[in-house]
Each structure stands twice: as structure tokens, then as C-alpha cells.
């Protein structure tokens, strides 16, 4: 999946000479946490996070003091240079950028111009979709040997019962190199026949694990 598919193109921006108080208003009115700062060519020259702005703003207990601080330019507190991504970058890369740089938002630029923004919320939304939980479904987990050809055999059992699969993901079983867990969300209220068939074919269906007992 590409950045252009998940980015938001409704972007709220500021210019370097704008005042911090304007940034504060934008944050509160739009329920956003990041504001890119652009020049007249729409080049990203900085970014403001909600924390940058609140660090700079006077304390909520200082109603009448230090209000002049808000008259400073946003360029005085913005982070620069800015990490940006391209609309054709993969969303996995965005996840790595967030993880490595400990940030939660990247502007998207094309020909150096700002065209969108991706936040960790956009990524989490896609993650939820990946799990299949947004569609009515039951979950089955199967422990399998880590070798060629296991997945098609399992999905074959499911398709033979005319049941649609909402999502599949695979992760290592207890950090093992030789075993994996295949997690399937299947669109049926009655997964029992599938489970029985998988067990009959010798698969270890770990679903649901009995509490307090070894899997």
C-alpha cells in the first residue's frame, strides 16, 4: 500500500512569519497535532507539533502573564529540517520512520511541494483493517510448521466450505524459527466445521486457548 492511498490531503499549514497564537488556535479548533510550515512555493520549511507549541505557550495558570510570548513567530519554535515522504513510498516505510525517529507525523511532498500528510492515526486505521476486525467475522489461530505450502492447504479447507476470509496474518510462534501461527478472520458465525476439518487434517488449532492451561 502506498502513502498516497492513506494520506490526508486536507492540510492545515502556517507560514514562518505567522504567530504562535495562530498555531494554538489551529490546534484547538481542528483537533490536530501537527502543522507543517510552508513558504510561498508550498515547500515545507518546518513543522510544529502540539508539544512544540504548548512548550512555548505560557502555562494555563498564567492567564495574564507572559502572553507576549504568543506573539513570536512560529519559525522561532518549529522543527527544521523536516522528514518528508513521497506519495509513492510504502506505508511500511512510514511505520519505520515513525519508529526510528520517534515521531508521529510526516508531510508528503511531490516536486518539493506539500501535497498531503500522514499521521500515526492513519497508520493505525490501516492496521485495524489489516486485522479484518472491521468485518463481521470469527477468528481462528493455527500453529503450523514454518515450511512451503502450508497456507494454501489451510485456505483450501476454508474455501471448500464457501467461506470468505477477511484477513490473514502470520507471525512466529513464541519466537520459534520452525513454527508459525496463522491467524485468520473468516466471515462465518459457525467456524466449528472448519476447525473440526483442520484438526482432522492434523493441524494444531490453538483457538481459543483454555485459560491457565498450556496451549
Amino acid at each position: 500500500m502506498l502513502v498516497e492511498e492513506i494520506m490526508s490531503d486536507k492540510i492545515i499549514t502556517l507560514h514562518a512569519e505567522d504567530k504562535i497564537e495562530e498555531a494554538l488556535v489551529l490546534l484547538n479548533e481542528n483537533h490536530i497535532r501537527h502543522i507543517p510550515v510552508v513558504n510561498s512555493d508550498q515547500h515545507v520549511i518546518g513543522i510544529l507539533s502540539d508539544r512544540d507549541i504548548r512548550d512555548a505557550a505560557p502555562s494555563v495558570l498564567e492567564q495574564n502573564q507572559n502572553q507576549d510570548i504568543l506573539k513570536n513567530k512560529v519559525s522561532s519554535i518549529m522543527t527544521s529540517p523536516v522528514i518528508t515522504v513521497h506519495p509513492l513510498d510504502f506505508i511500511e516505510d512510514v511505520a519505520s520512520i515513525f519508529y526510528e525517529h520517534e515521531i508521529a507525523c510526516v508531510p508528503v511532498t511531490k516536486n518539493n511541494q506539500l501535497i498531503g500528510i500522514v499521521t500515526e492515526k492513519d497508520l493505525l486505521y490501516r492496521l485495524i483493517q489489516l486485522t479484518g476486525i472491521h468485518e463481521q467475522s470469527s477468528q481462528i489461530e493455527v500453529r503450523v510448521p514454518n515450511k512451503v505450502g502450508v497456507l494454501p492447504k489451510i485456505t483450501q479447507v476454508i474455501s471448500e466450505r464457501n467461506t470468505n476470509i477477511s484477513s490473514v496474518f502470520i507471525y512466529p510462534y513464541n519466537d520459534s524459527l520452525t513454527e508459525k501461527v496463522i491467524v485468520l478472520r473468516v466471515q462465518t458465525m459457525n467456524p466449528m466445521p472448519l476447525i473440526d476439518e483442520l484438526k482432522r487434517q492434523g493441524y494444531d488449532v490453538i483457538w481459543p486457548n483454555i485459560p491457565g492451561l498450556q496451549r
Binding site: 479484518g132 463481521q136 470469527s138 462465518t188 459457525n190 467456524p191 483457538w207 485459560p211 491457565g212
Partner: protein, 389 residues
Amino acid sequence: MSHHAGFVYSDNFVNYKFRENHPFNQKRVELTYDLLIKSQALSEEDIIEPRIATDEEIMLVHDYNYVEAVKKAGKGLLKPEEGIEFGIGTEDTPMFDHMHEAASQLVGGTLTAVDHVLQGNYKHMVNLGGGLHHGFKRKASGFCIYNDAAIAIKYIREKFNYKVLYVDTDAHHGDGVQWIFYDDPNVCTLSIHETGRYLFPGTGSVNERGQNEGYGTSFNIPVDAFTENESFLEVYEEAMYTIANHFKPDIIVTQNGADAHVYDPLSHLCCTMEIYEKIPAIAHEIAHSFCEGRWIALGGGGYDIWRVVPRAWAQIWKIAKGENMFTGQLPDSWINDWKDESPVSLPLFWHDEDKLYQEIPRKEEITEKNRIQLNKSLQIIRDEQKFSM
């Protein structure tokens, strides 16, 4: 003078049948009816013939295109690929002859129940053929074609400005009804169900609270797999009293799925008949304290149709009649008439015997976790009380 309670029943309910060996089997309604007759708890004058719902009534909730697709499917005219977007023709909701008519009959049963309560003829009405809570606006799912409970609530709202409390104790999340009224502040939904971690449909987390105007009128309490009576009832009782007291409903609709029983093949809860005695008793009490008695009790899930559903649902009727719950032995005549057909040996008593299952190793943790979910769900009400004091 109004009667106390009426029982909607028709032989036609069994026409809602996807295929042989499909887990959803309306024979359970017939078994319940027969059990009540043989227990001398149900007589001719209690029984009310259901009407059939009109297309306009069904379209209070469902899209025209969906209803048309169901009609075509019931005549064998819907191509498999046309059924996909409507969830028709799947393993859960396969096509069958006259499926529109069969589903409209169930909806009609629920609307008949609603009519009698709204007109004041009866305080409580029971329609065990209804409670198909997974049906969506334009999609069949989870064995449900038309969502009779949601249609009934819309119908109530059209006729009267009643605030409706919908309570769903099916082991599966009452998603269809919840989403249809998600932004409606006059319809409060409460669903207590096994966590969607593994179980269909997967939703029903505590954080699903409604949206916009309806924020704070959806309550979900997912309980852990292997939850037992004590913990289930603790959650149910406290949620019911707190929410009813907060929302102050004018009418209650309950969905009485009987699939949280340890024998049920589709869920992983470990409850027994005890919860099916208390669930209607508390609903009945709340109907009287808040709603001048207005209570519509529907069926729902329930896939052990021999050992669990008839006993569980018979208790709803007994409570609705204002009598004490059944105790002691089941009538011999019922056991004798059905024992040959039943693939499992039929129970002998209304109560379950002890030790139906092995001790659950993590009972304490499960109970604690369920209590945390309960408190999270009700926090929104408690905060409001705190601030308004």
C-alpha cells in the same frame, strides 16, 4: 383491562430454515412451545397469531435493493455473484425457497408483539421466533436476514415517542441493532457477550459507546471466554440497574439468545440454566419499575436446541406471566415425545445439575477482568453522577 402477557406463536416460524443441519434451527421454538403446553403454563387464550410484516415495515431498517435481492433469492432468481454484496448465499445465510416470506413472518411476529404492548392490550409480549440481531441495513449475516428487533424499535419510535432500552444477552455481540441506532439518543443498546477476540462478529468492545447525538447510549460489556454464572450475573445485574436508572426507558426490548450456556456449540462461555432464570426476572422487574410494564421479549441465538433452548425460553414466558420460575422435573410427556428424535439425552430437571463442566482454572482472573470491563462500560454514567452532585 389489559392482560398480563401474550405469547406470539405460529407453526410458520419453522419455515425460516436455511437447510438441513444448519445450526440455526427454529424447531427450538416449537420445542419450547410444546414444553410450555405440557407444563400447563401456556393455554389457547395466551397465544397470539403473528401477522406478516409489510415491505414498508421491513424498509424502516433495510434498503429497498436488499429486500428485492432477498425476494429474488427466495424465488431462485438471484445469481450467486449478485448475492455477495448482500451477504446472501454464504455458508451462514444460504438462499432458500421463500426466504423473504419466512423472514417477514418472524418480523411480523415481533411487530405483533409490539402492537399489543403499544395498544395497551398486554403488558408483556414474548416472541421467541424473533431476535435476529445481526442483520444489517443491506446485508444478511450471522444467520439473520431481517433484523426484527431493529425494525420493532424503529416502529415503536415512529408510533410513540418512547425511549427504548434494548438489552441483548446473546453470547454474540448485538452488532446489527447497535449500529442501526448508534447515533440515536432515544434508543439505548446494552449488549453483554463473549469477547469478540475470537468469536463472531468481533465487535462489541467497551469503547463502542455511540456517536454524535447518540454518544453514551451504546453499552458493551464483553466477557471472557469461560465466564461462569456468578460473574455473568454480576455484570448483567449491575449493568441493567445502572443503565435503566440512568436512561429511564419507557419500553424494554430484550434479545434472549440462549447460547451462553456451556453446552452451546458456537460459544465458549460456561453458564448454566441459572442465568436464564435470572435474566428475564430482572428484565421483568425493570419493566415494571420504569416502563409501566412495557416489555417485549424476543428469542435470539441458541444452538443446543434440545437441552438448553426450550428450558431457557420457557422460563421467559413463566416470568412474563408474573409467576414463579419453573422448578423440579420436566414433564414426562415432553421428554417421552421428543427423546427419540433428540440426538442427545434430554435433561430431566428445569435446573442444571452441578458439575456440567470441569473447574475453570482461571476463574478469579476471569471474574476480575469481567468486573473491569463492567466498570469501564459504566464509568461514563458514574462520572456524570459525580459531576452533577
